[in-house]
């Protein structure tokens, strides 16, 4: 009957529409194309850190949170299952102090900012005393400045780091550190906790000739004064509000106001200290300022582990182990003290573990996060237990910053931050397969492999010459080529040093990529061209802009003319 058919048809149509709607709502738009909200990794080795490792176990994730962990974890019917045989799941790694996520320099002071920051002054006027609050921006907040434009977010994530504790870097009071998860669609999504710590640096920097302070003792005295002023201003302002009559009004000080807020929130004060001398001084500073403190640096900790344990001060250990400079003059003997530090620094974490010092790892000045696990491996070789090493990359930093209730280990209810590898995390040959941040899956792809075998060997120190809009420039590229043509190495220029992220020589065509700060932000810079056995010729491409360059080996040939001569076989 028509009406029945119509009803059936209508029902079918409605049903189909509902089904479509359900399908649509069940898979909201994901950048990686249709990611499920529920997934499970089944039958893998799971290393929770908060408990013993489990073989043949399952981790179930739902809506960014760990739903279940264990051998018998139930997998929801509509979960997307990844077979975990041969895989190991670790908690996402935490970089305990960095500035990943922050790309811009200090925001240029607008007229309002300048007024609020203190007595109005031109940028060139040097600080005349502590009242001018030189090089201090404790109001800067990583949580406010975080930006997805920072390419390092992807670099760090691909190396297994799901979480970073980022802070602005410059000055005596650079700003406020936030815990960031390296995942999000809008910059604000990254913030796990907006204010956890403030770093305090005592390095005078190259401020000689630019005003107070220009000595270490000046910096320390300045910082004492700031803490005193912060305490006094809080009281003075309260007293003035209560009864302003007859008292000179207290001067507003942006730095003290920011510092007071930070201290009220019991944020950890991170004091920079690397040598034993600096660490002992840091302990005295922490006691004098009466703050919850932690030390960052800590590489000479092997000398004084017991003292640190007794004072219960946690230490963030800088993973950029001290080593000989690559271009060091071979005739210049380093001091015995320097040699000892270089030799023993990697043994510091093991000494800390033994003495009971709470510690975590951070990247320091490392440019390439892949070096971080290698650096941790060095400390394992020097006596640190692998379990403790892993903890220092996961649960320990989470505890230090007060977020261990939500991340740092694979436990039911915690944020689904996971690193999935095909082997032991600290084994050089292990590859990271997936990284989950807030339950969002990232597949880690292998870098491109060169197609044809390389023609010749591009290994060596190259002088690259090119002309930018700013004028003629030169950089040095220190390249090493493996037999399959993969290029690795470093590049140094007036903009700093950078590690080559990927590169290869295939046939006579080469390409390699670095990521550096080119003014306002970090960007990939790609060098590509041809290698004829003697010189490099090609172009540098950055953000759509391209310039030509020539690469020569200094010493072998100082000009292309000579290169041409040599190629023609003219012996001199």
């Amino acid at each position: 009957m028509r009406s029945t058919l119509g009803r059936i048809g209508l029902c079918a149509l409605l049903g189909a529409m509902v089904a479509i709607c359900l399908f649509v709502t069940a898979s909201p738009a994901f950048a990686q194309g249709g990611e499920p909200q529920y997934f499970a990794i089944r039958g893998a080795k799971v290393v929770p850190v908060s408990g013993p490792a489990m073989e043949d176990a399952t981790v179930v994730v739902a809506r960014g949170v760990i739903l279940a962990v264990g051998k018998d974890a139930a997998i929801p019917a509509d979960a997307w299952v990844i077979e975990g045989k041969g895989l190991t799941i670790y908690p996402g790694l935490v970089d305990a102090l960095t500035d990943v996520g922050l790309v811009t320099a200090a925001p240029a002071p607008s007229s309002e900012n300048a007024a609020a920051a203190g007595p109005a002054r031109r940028a060139e006027e040097a600080a005349r005393g502590p009242e001018d609050r030189p090089n201090s921006t404790p109001w800067r907040s990583a949580a406010e400045e975080v930006s997805l434009a920072d390419k390092r977010i992807e670099t760090w994530r691909s190396a297994g780091f799901t979480t970073v504790v980022s802070s602005p870097k410059t000055g005596f009071f650079p700003g406020q550190a936030a815990v960031l998860d390296l995942n999000g669609e809008r910059s604000g999504d990254l913030v796990v906790k907006a204010l956890v710590a403030i770093p305090v640096s005592t390095k005078p920097g190259s401020s000689f000739g630019r005003g107070f302070p220009d000595s270490l003792m000046g910096v320390i005295a300045y910082e004492h004064q700031v803490f005193l002023d912060t305490d006094w201003l809080t009281k003075a302002e309260a007293a003035y509000e209560k009864n302003p009559k007859g008292t000179a009004r207290p001067r507003y000080d942006r730095a003290s106001a920011a510092l007071a807020e930070v201290l009220e929130d019991h944020a950890t004060v991170l004091i920079s200290a690397n040598s034993a001398l600096e660490m002992r001084r840091a302990l005295e500073l922490a006691a004098r300022w009466k703050v919850n403190a932690a030390i960052y640096g800590g590489q000479a900790g092997y000398e004084m582990a017991d003292e640190l344990a007794a004072k219960k001060i946690p230490v963030l250990v800088n993973l950029k182990w001290p080593e000989a400079e690559k271009d060091a003059d071979p005739d210049q003997m380093p001091t015995l003290r320097t040699l000892r530090l270089r030799d023993r620094a990697p043994s510091t974490p093991a000494r800390f573990a033994k003495a009971g010092v709470k510690f975590a790892f951070y990247s320091g000045d490392s440019v390439n996060p892949k070096d971080l696990l290698k650096a941790v491996k060095k400390s394992i070789d020097a006596g640190l237990a692998p379990d403790t090493a892993l903890r220092a990359l996961t649960l320990s930093p989470a505890e230090l910053y007060g977020v261990s209730d939500r991340l740092g280990s694979i436990e039911k209810g915690k944020i689904a931050n996971l690193v999935v590898t095909d082997g032991d995390l600290f084994n050089e040959k292990t590859k990271i397969k997936y990284v989950f941040v807030d339950g969002r899956r990232y597949e880690i792809r292998e870098p491109e492999k060169p197609k044809d075998p390389p023609k010749g060997d591009i290994t060596g120190k190259w002088k690259l010459s090119y002309t930018t809009p700013e004028g003629a420039e030169e950089s040095t590229a220190d390249l090493t080529m493996a037999s399959d043509g993969t290029i690795s190495g470093t590049l140094s220029s007036k903009r700093g040093n950078a590690t080559i992220l990927s590169g290869y020589l295939t046939g006579d065509h080469f390409t390699f990529v670095i990521n550096i700060n080119i003014g306002q932000n970090f960007a990939d810079v790609t060098f590509s061209g041809t290698y004829d056995g003697i010189a490099l010729k090609g172009n540098i491409s950055v953000e759509g802009y391209s310039i030509d360059f020539i690469g020569t080996k200094p010493g072998a040939a100082s000009s292309l003319a000579q290169v041409a001569d040599l190629a023609q076989g003219d012996a001199r």
Partner: protein, 484 residues
């Protein structure tokens, strides 16, 4: 004579037990007897052949003969001379970072005591020169410079253990060319007031006027609190003015760098006006011109032996300065202002015998009891007397002889420098250094090989990284026998 000395030296070396000079000395010093030496006590005459008993870091007995307790370490100093440890009244060693907070004219907020560097090898080198106590001063870039501290050269101890317990803290002033910078400028730094001597005076007056006012506001507050007013708000603590108030209250010594007689007299006037005393004038190369004024004011003078004409204001310097001032009744010391100069202050003191005719004993005082008095620590150090600290030096010749070489230096009864041990220990340190360098090279080579494992031309890498064999480097700062 030489054979005898050599034999004694050998016996000496053998008889000295392996005392731990390399590790951090334990707090309890061993019991030591130094015997058969010529003891120059400085204040109680010379004992031609005598002994000293050291116990608990103090001089327990001094005399022609001393009964050595059973388990005492015995040092036979036959033919040797023992003096009190030298006190350097003007030193910039052991400071971490810049010696000057030179950015502003009044940098009293800075304090050398907060940046002591216990790792500075100059501490060890000065011990090797017989120095046991040093007045660690801020530089002379400012009319009013940073706060200062007296330390003992306790090599091997952490920075917190260096300050001389009970010694009053100090502050450095500077007058003349250095703070006014007439003869040089710091690149990048705007010209800083003051630029004249009258400006230097006004800077000091201005700072003390502020300090006086600051002190009054604190006195008023304290009075309120004492009177029971609990709600009174204290004044803002100003770390720059606190030390100046301490100067006004006589709790902090003023050590003022100066050269010319006019500025010396200027500071005496300013001090009198504000009601404080200058403790010492440093360098004070024209001090001989105003010796009577210095003696009347009771200010100490700490000067160079014979430096002159390196600046216009040093043109009238004469090597008779120390002797002339001494003869007019000023307490004079001779200082180094330099880590290297500090390794031979005994010989600098000796120069005043030639220039000015000071006696042997007067000359020795210039680097022992006199600086001790200037720094207010003469109850503890500066001479060899029972009850004083066992800060001693053993020389192989009379300390005022050009041939004198320090054999051992004691601080608080610990041997912190031992010449024979230092020399004997150098080979081991050199070996450790070379082993570590070789280890680093091997590791670097291994990682290079790993990186370019299958690289076609491994030989190409070698020329880049092949080092020249390390030459024996006397100049290199390696031979620190006390290195931890």
């Amino acid at each position: 004579m030489n054979c005898l000395r050599f034999a004694v030296l050998t016996a000496f070396t053998l008889s000295v037990a392996s005392h731990a000079t390399l590790a951090t000395p334990p707090d309890a010093s061993p019991v030591i007897v130094i015997q058969n030496a010529t003891i120059l006590t400085v204040t109680k005459g010379t004992i031609e052949r005598g002994s000293i008993l050291i116990k608990d870091g103090k001089i327990s007995e001094v005399g022609p003969s001393v009964k050595a307790p059973k388990d005492a370490m015995v040092i036979d100093a036959e033919g040797k001379f023992v003096t009190p440890g030298i006190i350097d009244c003007h030193s910039h060693i052991a400071i971490d970072g810049s010696v000057n907070e030179g950015s502003i004219s009044v940098s009293s907020i800075a304090n050398t005591a907060e940046v002591l560097n216990s790792d500075d090898v100059d501490i060890y080198r000065d011990l090797a020169g017989g120095v046991t106590t040093a007045n660690i001063l801020h530089g002379s870039a400012n009319s009013i410079g940073g706060q200062t501290v007296v330390i003992k050269l306790r090599w091997g101890q952490p920075a917190s253990k260096l300050p001389f317990e009970g010694a009053l803290p100090g502050i450095k002033f500077a007058l003349g060319e250095n703070p006014k910078r007439s003869n040089f400028s710091i690149p990048g730094q705007p010209k800083r007031y003051p630029a004249t001597r009258m400006g230097v005076e006004e800077t000091i007056r201005g700072a003390f006027t502020e300090a006086r006012d600051y002190k009054n506001s604190w006195d008023a507050y304290n009075k309120k609190i004492a009177g029971g007013d609990k709600s009174a708000l204290p004044p803002r603590r100003d770390l720059r003015l606190d030390p100046l108030v301490e100067v006004l209250e006589g709790k902090r010594y003023v050590h003022s760098h100066c050269y010319r007689e006019d500025e010396i007299l200027m500071l005496l006037r300013v001090a009198k006006e504000f009601g404080f005393k200058v403790r010492t004038f440093q360098h004070v190369l024209e001090g001989y011109k105003v010796a009577d004024e210095l003696a009347t004011a009771g200010v100490g003078a700490s000067t160079f032996s014979d430096w002159w004409a390196y600046k216009v204001e040093a043109y009238d310097a004469i090597p008779y300065n120390a002797a002339l001032m001494t003869k007019r009744g000023v307490v004079v010391s001779i200082n180094s202002d330099d880590a290297e100069e500090a390794t031979h202050l005994n010989q600098e003191a000796a120069k005043s015998m030639k220039f000015g005719g000071l006696t042997h004993d007067q000359a020795l005082k210039l680097v022992t009891i006199n600086p001790a008095m200037q720094l207010g620590i003469d109850k503890r150090v500066g001479s060899i007397e029972v009850g004083k600290d066992a800060d001693l030096v053993i020389y192989d010749h009379d300390p005022l002889s050009a041939y004198a070489v320090v054999q051992k230096t004691f601080v608080d009864g610990h041997v912190l420098f031992d010449r024979d041990k230092d020399i004997a220990g150098r080979a081991a340190l050199e070996k450790e250094k070379n082993d570590l360098i070789a280890k680093e090279k091997a590791a670097a080579k291994k990682s290079e090989e790993k990186k370019g494992e299958q690289s076609k031309k491994p030989e190409e890498k070698k020329p880049e990284e092949k080092p020249k064999p390390p030459s024996s480097d006397q100049a290199a700062p390696s031979a620190n026998g006390g290195a931890q």
